[in-house]
Symmetry: C2
Subunit: 289 residues, 2 copies
């Protein structure tokens, strides 16, 4: 272990890999730091398997392509992932791919070699009842900006999420804090959660916001969309206003770490029955076993 | 030198400081990498002095405040800057301040200790005639997104600049390449250059785009604005359309590394006389001696 000088507990260091070598640090000249010039994936590991790895790799490739970063070969990443899983069969695995090191200046160097970074953390201890009985959600005041060139991509420019998550932390000095914040764009369209994608169930249809202007298209969003198609349920990807969401029969958010959480409370509206969300969650949990 | 294992020439390593210690790496858990959760400054060093350090520190403090990052004390940064200057009296010095290391999740940890990163690079060898005779500029196709919460701030979320700079590199397979690209927002307003702020001289007035929706307000922009006030020249900070710029008497861009470049060619329009830009440049060069 070359890099034990950093202030990180030794016990977790062996699950950190940088370009295939145990390590917990990157160059200060890496463009991932300098400009957020990279993409990332957050994977759930369970029983020594990274759930939905093929979907994660496809998405990583899509996101790298969007930035013109040469996506590392799947076989190389799989071999590295296996090293991480061998040490940590259960928890949350993060994979970052940056454009690599680069000289001064924004322009991407033609010969940059992408940096591959793996890290591990334990599964967060969310209350089990959030999945079953739903969460309290709120609407963040931060509005997402529209950038079609970066929409859908899970890149490392995440300051909007940071500002929105800070609102969640600072809100509700009394009473139950919101477990997730929903984000609107500047035109009052509902886009996503601070760390999740959003679905509505309305008149027997599944509806999820169009992400062509902003937002991150996560792989769990894709899985829910595929579920709708497989189960013959009408699916709409389109603009959604908050008002429509407040009148939906069900609302739920998804991501790879939380799984699926129905929304129980949002802006004085309450729900207590989530038949579609519960069916999807059960189907997904069965697939993940 | 603790960190000589990275693939960086040894000769430059001693000018790299991380939290006051010689080093060329940061933790892969630094939020600067994970989310671009930090800010930066690019300083010009000349004859062992960092030009306009007080302005840079004020701007750093403003930018840290905008993100809720505790800005390091000026005395601490000055002491570190002196170490860098002692090794490298002339060139370009970069200072990055990130929110520091943080656990998983977007929310800023309440107890994060900001990371201070210093790096050095030689002054780029731009042709001298660019300052005197002007540059060729182009208009980038990438449109800046509007995010009032982050406007003006020089934060680490710079993918829009990366994409715009890549256009510059890829454009003009034949003929003279553009030295700078100008950026519009989604409403066709002219905002800035990919790495510079923009000014127009028009009917005896200095005009610079309003940056309340997007763009970075650099310290050289502030210096030009102060120059106008000191010299009794009318100054307007407002929305500017490309069409107006194409009909301006002079156009010029500024930043701390390039200084001031007049624009000689933009979208088939040509200029060859820059009395105001030249006066400002000469005044600035005198101040910097």
């Amino acid at each position: 272990m070359k890099c034990g000088f950093l202030d990180v507990p030794f016990s977790v260091l062996h699950a950190m890999l940088v370009n295939g070598v145990a390590g917990s640090s990157i160059s200060i000249r890496d463009r991932g730091l300098l400009y957020g010039d990279g993409v990332f994936r957050t994977l759930r590991a369970a029983n020594g398997k990274a759930l939905h790895w093929p979907l994660h790799y496809l998405k990583l490739k899509y996101d790298c392509d969007a930035l013109g970063i040469a996506c590392p070969e799947e076989a190389l990443l799989c071999a590295e992932l296996d090293k991480v899983l061998a040490e940590h069969p259960d928890g949350v695995i993060k994979l970052i791919v940056t454009r690599g090191q680069g000289g001064r200046g924004y322009a991407p160097p033609a010969d940059a070699t992408p940096t591959r970074i793996w890290d591990f953390s334990p599964l967060p201890g969310y209350p089990l009842e959030w999945a079953e009985q739903g969460i309290k959600a709120c609407v963040c005041s931060l509005r997402l900006s529209a950038q079609p060139r970066l929409a859908c991509v899970k890149h490392l420019n995440r300051l909007e999420n940071v500002l929105a998550a800070a609102e969640l932390n600072n809100a509700q000095p009394h009473g139950e804090p919101a477990a997730e914040g929903l984000l609107l764009d500047s035109e009052d369209r509902l886009i996503e959660g601070t760390r999740s994608n959003l679905f509505l169930v309305s008149q027997g249809r599944l509806v999820t916001p169009d992400l062509s202007r902003c937002g991150v298209a996560g792989i769990q969003r894709g899985r829910v969309m595929a579920w709708a198609v497989q189960h013959g349920m009408a699916l709409q990807v389109r603009d959604v206003k908050l008002e429509e969401a407040l009148h939906a029969d069900e609302l739920f958010v998804v991501n790879s770490v939380i799984g699926l959480w129905p929304i129980r409370e949002l802006e004085q509206r309450h729900w207590n029955n989530y038949p579609v969300a519960t069916q999807i969650r059960h189907d997904f949990e069965r697939q993940d076993e």
